[in-house]
Amino acid sequence: MSSQIRSDEAILRMQDEAAAAGLPDAATAFAELVERMRGAVAFDARFVGIYSGGAWLAERLAEAIPGNHPVGYIDASFYRDDYARKGLKPELHATRLPFEVEGASIVLVDDVLFTGRSVRAAINELFDYGRPASIELAVLVDRGGRELPIEATYVGARLVVARELSVVLSRTADGTLALGAEPNSEQRHA
């Protein structure tokens, strides 16, 4: 579940591969997600993107969905349950929540929902900032494979992918989105 900026050619190649692998078109999934959230989320809901893929997705959603939606960012690396197995990941971001969490309506935003462990970690971190009135979850893609009882409130697209593959959301500098699948890099020192 990562997101990177890639070149146009790389994106085109990914789009071809994605079509071949039966992955949905990212722009279509985004439009669908906007459709589902419009009118359903609180007018003043805060959109909190989970780094890194969810961060700019949250920004895009805040622009696309009517209402006043301040954007925050969360890197829940300090709350993950795989620290003992994998250590701390090399690139961290600072969590930035430029609003009061206490009493707020929060929509957590992520690109790909898989095991649910990132979302669990993000919810735990949120509560160290205050007690939100509610937390909802919006994801571009739900690929199944949950290991925790966590479900998304708003989903752009659903798909089934082999466990060994990571679904990766990429974008070009001009903001074009693309979904791709690549071998899982979970194993450390494999």
Binding site: S77, F78, Y83, G87, E91, L92, R96
Partner: protein, 319 residues
Amino acid sequence: MRNPQLNAHGELTHLLTLEGLPAEVIRRILDTAVPFASIGERDVKKVPLLRGRSVFNLFFENSTRTRTTFEIAAKRLSADVINLNIGASSTTKGETLLDTVDNLVAMNADMFVVRHAQSGAPHLIAAHLNRTGRTHVHVVNAGDGRHAHPTQGLLDLFTIRHYKKDFRGLTVAIVGDILHSRVARSLIHGLTTMGTPEVRVVGPQTLLPTAMSSLGVRVCHDLRAALPGCDVVVMLRLQNERMKGALLPSAGEFFKNYGLTPEKLALAKPDAIVMHPGPMNRGVEIDSAVADGDHAVILPQVTFGIAVRMAVMSIVAGN
């Protein structure tokens, strides 16, 4: 021979010295400290990363400040912290250092934070743990003899990068009792590894070994001549106990030549920052007007020190 601080994958498992540590390892520690710094600003200043782990502060030499900042760092990571006042316990009964360590490992210690008057003591403990296959136990050097004080060096680097953004292009002066200073040695290794083009060490001949130039720094005995062009001025503590010997005529004489006053600081760049590892001797190495002035970043150093120690502990304990 492999660097004893790194595992077979080149990952940091102990922090003993900045000497020989690759730039990417140092950069990763500094980068990791950034999000930890923001945890100190929250209402809940705690993350669950080291929950259930036991961190033993082994201080064979007194240091309230360093011990406290390590303790705060470990507690903000949710570790259990055990402070051992070693001077008053086993060693005075004749137990060897490694026997003390083995006993604490038998109590399921996960990490040792070691301060020792003898250079190399933390290295000895780490090598002992590596040799006996207990690689899940980690050692962090909190200052050994005149050798190294790597977390101080790292927090100094973090502070410099915070205010100056990049090491390339910087001129840094380290001033005072270089001879006895593990802080100076660690900072010099860190600065040169990170590509700082000009590091000047400044002090009287009795406190500044000429062999320092082999570390890639410029040796200078005149503070007024050394300050022009400086972006960063690091003042070291003049240890009062050194004054009794023949090394210095008097504190007043030292202040006159090497004490940082507003008038001398004006020779450095207008946006120069002034650092000090503490505790400060006002009127000996630094004038109060400088210590409390706009250029001083001495208190931010203390705050950053906690974040840097959290980063070090969470990186080594995860490897």
